[in-house]
Amino acid sequence: MKSLLRDRKTALFVLVLVAILAVILPLVLEPFRLNLVGKYLTYAFVALGLVLCWGDAGILSLGQGIFFGLGGYCMAMFLKLQASTPEATKIQSTPGIPDFMDWNQITTLPWFWQPFHSLAFSIVAVAAVPMLLALIIGLSMFKRRVGGTYFAIITQAIASILTILIIGQQGYTGGVNGITDLRTLNGWDIRTDHAKLILYFVTIALLLVCLGGAHFIRCSKLGRILVAMREREDRVRFSGYDVASFKTFVFCFAAAMAGIGGAMFTLQVGFMSPSFVGIVPSIEMVIYCAVGGRTSLLGVIYGTLLVNWARTSFSETMPQVWMFAMGALFVFIVVVLPGGLASLYRTYLDPYISRLLGSSSKAPVHAGREADHANG
């Protein structure tokens, strides 16, 4: 009975989300605004990963921008090579390589750019490269029992290093401007309004797939082990589980999702730059997650949309207030509302909705946890 209600509620919530994203927004928003929403949604991929990583397992990564950026760069490298055919670049001193390489007196395509001629390779790399880096970081840190603030700041340091590296190695990475002027995906022009609309729906579809994957993990025993690890790491270890490999798994999963988000960002926005990799974007992704509610998959999608929408409107009207508001938001959420918007929902809306769905019998004792699962 309880689980039936839960399933029904989950289905309803997902339906509402799909209706808002796939029907209402495309109908009411002009193409430019819709493209913005599509851009925001790419951050939601990161936020979903943070729910598992931070909300459930208690591992706070301040370096999710690394994985978002790597995914985005993998896609951007493919698109850039497509845009750098010998014909299109014949005015360069070395035709056939990306323009920024030519500006930096590089005459041959570096080895690590070569495989990105292949679309299949690039698509795999979008998830695999972030996962590989997460695997290395995760194994080396979690095997040595590094966690908490220490892990948070080491990931932040890595984000900072990667940014400096990308900016410094202009000839190979496009430097501070990033990889720009991207045009076609296998001959399909991604810059038209029509293409952007299609990419918007692709983003939604991928987001739903990731949502489903994350939901599946949270409903499995692995999901409960993550929560158990957050509370009593030693008990989990002494129940026969290899804690480090579970942490590494969830960190890699989050990294892969962030990479997919980054790739969709590149496709929709048409460029990728180090400003989406470093310390500041990484920590902002954490706040999207915190605002939505760090333990609610659907909550963080709404949280991401809301914070980004607020940012855009603020920076259009009064940019100087935005930083202050963002700072205050961090403090407010952490101190006053650690459960984010989802906790407001659980307290005020959920009992009402449960009644509406026709279960007045079973207890509000479990309301919080019920909604937890229902929300994803």
């Binding site: 603030t149 700041i153 080491i154 340091a157 900016i167 202050f324 205050a328 403090v331």
Partner: protein, 308 residues
């Protein structure tokens, strides 16, 4: 011969870059001391630490302006006043922050991290409104600008020596305060067993507030030193929190000598590498080596085996 330099050239380069790295060493060490005191005491990372440093830098800048406007005769001595002001103002602000926010967040270290990050954003915006978004530089009095010649090819900047001396005095002061004073005994008691320290009548809340203030004040002094190697802008402090944390972790969070050794090795390596490589690559190599070492040896380089 190495990369076209003779060995005596290399020797001079090492010594000069070494002395040039002294100010960076001072900034790192003071920042790390402040961060380590707060971290050791309360187990929280103050992500706004860089902003407290920059507040110290702004205070130094304001002092130099005030002196040159109203007391040009005393300008040659303004830096010493600036050091004191850049300790007191960030220190007071730190105490206010502890009282209004941090004390509600003990036992939630990750949340403190995020909340203090929020504070750092607000401080950056406040600096932008108060001091302007433009980068500002501090004028040094004549006598601090020169350098002494050790030999034909080796020059040492005087301001480096002054800053170095100031850093040594403060480090020694912190050591005496923590390990030789009654107040330090209270601090260490709270550090080791908060409940018990409270039970024997130590006012733990006051100790927390003073420690937080002290840490922020020292960061402010680091800001006074910072004015000599960088220009002060609202966001200049942001990147320092990562570097500083790495210095603290690399040295092993609990050890003062470890922190000194780690600040020294990191700043010197970076300063010397900067001569041969671009600044950003030197930074990447140093940070990356530190991160890799910390991944292999998370307890830092200078710690003993302790009972867990």
């Amino acid at each position: 011969m190495l990369m076209g330099y003779s060995f005596s050239d290399l020797g001079s380069i090492l010594v000069m870059q070494g002395f040039a790295g002294l100010i960076m060493f001072s900034v790192y060490l003071l920042m790390a001391l402040g961060l380590a005191i707060i971290f050791g005491q309360m187990g929280v990372i103050n992500m706004a630490h860089g902003e407290f440093m920059i507040l110290g830098a702004y205070m130094t800048y304001e002092c130099s302006r005030l002196f040159s406007a109203y007391m040009p005769g005393l300008f040659s001595l303004y830096f010493f006043v600036a050091i004191i002001v850049s300790f007191i103002v960030p220190g007071l602000l730190g105490m206010a922050l502890e009282w209004s926010l941090i004390r509600f967040l003990y036992k939630r270290p990750l949340d403190t991290l995020l909340a203090t990050w929020g504070i750092s954003l607000m401080l950056q915006q406040a600096y932008r409104s108060i001091f302007g978004a433009r980068e500002v530089g501090v004028n040094l009095p004549e006598w601090m600008m020169g350098s002494t010649h050790l030999s034909d090819s080796i020059e040492i900047p005087i301001n480096g020596i002054i800053v170095m001396g100031m850093t040594l005095v403060i480090t020694a002061g912190v050591y005496l305060l923590l390990f030789r004073s009654g107040w330090g005994k209270q601090v260490r008691a709270v550090m080791q067993n908060r409940a018990m320290a409270g039970a024997v009548g130590i006012n733990t809340e006051r100790v927390d507030r003073m420690t937080f203030g002290l840490g922020c004040g020292i960061a402010g002094v680091a800001g006074a030193a910072f004015t000599m190697i960088g220009s002060t802008s609202p966001t200049a402090g942001q990147l320092y929190i990562v570097d500083t944390f790495l210095v603290v972790a690399f040295g092993g969070a609990q050890s003062l000598t470890g922190t000194i050794a780690s600040a020294f090795s990191i700043s010197q390596t970076r300063s010397i590498l900067e001569f041969f490589l671009s600044g950003s690559m030197a930074q990447v190599i140093v940070l990356l080596s530190v991160v890799i070492i910390l991944m292999l040896r998370p307890q830092g380089l200078f710690v003993l085996k302790v009972r867990r």
